[in-house]
Amino acid sequence: MVNKEDFHLEDPTWCPGCGLYGIFDALKRAAASLNLEPEQTVVITGIGCHGRVNNYFKSYGFHGLHGRVLPVATGVRLANPGLTVISVSGDGDAYSIGQGHFIHALRRNVRLVYLVVNNQVYALTEGQVSPTSPFGFVSASTPYGSKEFPLDGPTLALAAGGTFIARGFSGEVAHLAKLIEKAVNHRGFSLIDILSPCVTHNKANTYDWYKGHIDKLDEDLSSNPQDKMEAWKRLQGSEKIPIGLLYQEQKPTFEELVLAEKEKPLGLVPLEVEVSRIKKIMEKFQ
């Protein structure tokens, strides 16, 4: 039996009170409860405060470019579908610079967990407006208030064919850990948009603000929401921000559909030049 501390590599150094502490804790709890093995797990992160997760969480890791988490994660899944892939982005990483990859990973239904740490601000670059910041948000880049309307990741995911759409809150660690567990077990792409206060750069969306605005759908996550219209209504209709599993459906994964090699991870198949078969193909060029 593994312990959550088996996944603890180093103590994080995020700002005291940062929502990422809760997310880190939830991730470790989920990993322990799922009995994951660090060596069979790959955590792929983008650029932003969240990207430091790789330095603290014990697993194989890939910390690449801003916004390019999902193509790398897809490549990893195709190379070795035996690995548990947990990808982490910020709201800027996922919904702004990586937006194109986001909707395409959703429609491909690659089996991976996508944790979007949504603090509604660009924090690592010292506090600019993000695509999820509310209208009128005052930030370093919008001193007179943002003139753009926010987008909503889960709504977008629903439209793009997402098969597991959830929202969590970093202040509800036990609930978030359960969501992550469920996401890892989901056969397909699972999005968890995680509301996560930035104590340094977002003075509007604080823990207290979230506590007054969230609406927990289902404490023990036992429900199985398969109604798309219902999910749509929840996301659009209520005054409060729903947290929990919003929608889930079963579809074949991209890996199941495109991988010709089923027995062994593609990356571990020994390479040999199949001379006679290639020779046969070359006959077409004669």
Partner: protein, 601 residues
């Protein structure tokens, strides 16, 4: 036996007398996009090859599907050729405009075969020295076969007669093309169309106007495009993930692999953009798959970001870049060499990369395999830099040797080896800069692949000393790689004092220009740069030192190879640039006349 040889030599003598001893012939097929110009040319090219001749085609296509003027030159020769030449012997024109466009390209004694519908009389000045024949190709096609598309096969029949090709070869090609895909009836109709064209031509073309090609023995050779050779190379090298976004003129690499890779248990993914394509290949390679992408112009610019990541994270990956005319969208179907410096010096930061430039079809195949080996041995991105001219045009090539292919995965560890290592460090400092590599899923290999500056274990590290050591470790790999990459090849007379330097698809016109200069008793030699990075400094310096005059031939405006050369070597010699940045590749005559002009001959 002796008797047969006697008869044969008599025939050859007669032909020589009648100036019909043809050893090199160019056929241009011209019309509108949608006319089937490419199909007709490709069938002809294959027929020439099976007739035992060497072939090189050149497409001059607009970047749309239908309506605009297009032409395709199929050149055949008894000697290996790598491109088109200055004139055309036979013009097959599907409309009047095609004749007017290309009449000046036709050599003395040339033949024009045109679709007579709607074509008026040519002015005498244009007709001079050429023979014009009209045939109602489209009308014949409609009346006999119910569809204009058969005009192509009728025209091929006429060319079969004109060039004295073996009709059996054509019939066989028709069968191969249509039997499986379209069935017996279509094969029969096409064969009939071929015969009809042959008979038509026999009626209207006089014997002395024919350009008979003497059949040779069809040695074991191939006829394929550079894109196909690269795709075949990737397959043979063990590429098992190919991710790309559609773009001319690189898409053929992918389409070929999309068809063949699955049966080798590989996967092809059409990504949402080029950013995703290279990142996905990097992700797969991180987990041990030989992965590749292919692109051109604008796609190459989008890949620059991930190119840098592969360099920093030390992930092997192969990028095939088929250069097209830029900047911006440029002209997507035309050849150019405007992206050389981008791949050598481009992207943010400094990192090792390997850039290979195949000049022949065989090199397209071999260097692709080489690129996969080099990428893994030196754990860095390897670029195959080609141009539209070689990527999309057909060439004959000697058969590829599959037996001598070696797959070298460098310092990639297997589980057993990894278990024996105490304290595994993915980015360990080593003498050659290359560190041992473990794959996710392996025991005892936990590490972070990091795009931030990192320490030996892969974790973010901003210590100044570590940065210096890490930078030097990565860059050191190039020194080792320079011993391993394809070295430059010297063509021509090594004692010659006139030197030519070039890379990629300019090889064909350069070699022919040298032959033209040779006929004028001007000896020259050619340094074919086959690896552009790491730059072959020593060989280039030695070559320069052995020349009195050096010309650099490039398909671009600013002389990028020339800049590269000057930045890398010490020489007192002033090199002269011969540059072409129009929509067509070099013609041999353009190079030879410019060299003569610059030398004051």
């Amino acid at each position: 036996m002796r008797n047969i040889q006697k008869v044969r030599s008599d025939i050859l003598q007669d032909m020589r007398k009648a100036k019909k001893m043809i050893d090199d012939l160019s056929v241009m097929i011209a019309g509108k996009a949608g006319d089937g110009v490419l199909f007709t040319g490709n069938v002809l090219a294959k027929a020439f090859k099976r007739q035992g001749w060497e072939v090189a085609t050149c497409r001059d296509f607009p970047s749309n599907i239908r309506g605009e003027a297009t032409n395709y030159t199929v050149r055949t020769s008894l000697n290996q050729v790598h491109g088109r030449r200055d004139t055309v012997d036979v013009l097959l024109a599907f409309d009047c405009e095609a004749i007017l466009r290309h009449v000046r390209d036709i050599a003395e004694g040339g033949v024009v075969l045109c679709d007579g519908e709607g074509v008026g009389e040519m002015a005498e000045s244009l007709r001079k020295g050429k023979t014009f024949h009209r045939s109602l190709l489209k009308k014949l096609a409609r009346e006999n076969f119910g569809h204009e598309i058969y005009k192509n096969m009728i025209a091929l029949g006429a060319l079969t007669y004109l060039l004295n090709l073996d009709p059996q070869i054509l019939k066989r090609i028709i069968e191969e093309t249509f039997l499986e895909k379209k069935g017996k009836e279509i094969v029969e109709k096409n064969t009939q169309a071929l015969s009809l064209g042959w008979k038509e031509a026999k009626e209207i073309i006089k014997d002395k106007e024919r350009h008979p090609l003497i059949k040779q023995r069809d040695k074991a050779r191939l006829i394929l495009t550079g894109d196909e050779a690269i795709a075949l190379g990737a397959l043979a090298a063990g590429c098992r993930l190919f991710a790309a976004y559609p773009i001319c003129p690189a898409t053929e690499i992918w389409q070929w692999l999309a068809f063949h890779l699955p049966s080798f248990k590989g996967t092809v993914v059409q990504t949402e953009d080029e950013l995703a394509a290279l990142n996905m290949a990097i992700g797969a390679s991180f987990c041990g798959v030989r992965a590749m992408t292919a692109t051109s112009g604008p796609g190459a610019s989008l890949m620059m970001e991930a190119f840098s990541l592969a360099g920093m994270a030390e992930i092997p990956v192969v990028i095939a870049q088929v250069q097209r005319l830029g900047p911006a969208t440029g002209i997507p179907t035309k050849s150019q060499q405007g992206d050389i410096l981008q791949w050598i010096f481009g992207s943010h930061g400094e990192f090792p990369r390997i850039v290979l430039a195949p000049g022949t079809i065989e090199e397209c195949f071999e260097f692709t395999i080489e690129a996969f080996n080099l990428a893994e041995k030196f754990q860095c991105p390897a670029v195959l830099l080609t141009e539209e001219d070689i990527a999309q045009n057909l060439r004959t090539s000697k058969d590829f040797n599959l037996q001598k292919i070696v797959i070298d995965r460098g310092k990639l560890l297997n589980q057993k080896e990894l278990l024996q290592i105490k304290n595994f460090k993915r980015y360990e400092f080593t003498a050659d800069g290359v560190s041992p590599r473990a794959l996710p899923g392996m025991k005892n290999g936990l590490h972070l692949v990091e795009g931030n500056e990192h320490n030996e274990r892969g974790y973010r590290d901003e210590d100044p000393l570590n940065r210096v050591l890490m930078m030097e470790k990565r860059m050191r790999k190039l020194r080792a790689a320079s011993q391993d990459v394809p070295s430059p090849r010297i063509w021509g007379d090594r004692k010659a004092k006139i030197g030519i330097i070039g890379a990629g698809s300019t090889l064909g016109p350069i070699l022919e220009a040298m032959a033209e200069l040779g006929q004028k008793k001007m000896k020259s030699k050619f340094l074919q740069l086959r690896t552009l990075w790491p730059f072959p400094k020593r060989q280039a310096e030695n070559f320069m030192a052995s020349c009195q005059e050096v010309f650099i031939i490039e398909n671009n405006y600013t002389g990028q190879l020339s800049h590269l050369l000057k930045s890398q070597i010490q020489t007192s010699l002033r090199v002269k640039n011969i540059l072409k940045y129009s929509t067509l590749p070099f013609m041999p005559g353009e190079i030879s006349t410019q060299i003569q002009g610059m030398l004051g001959w």
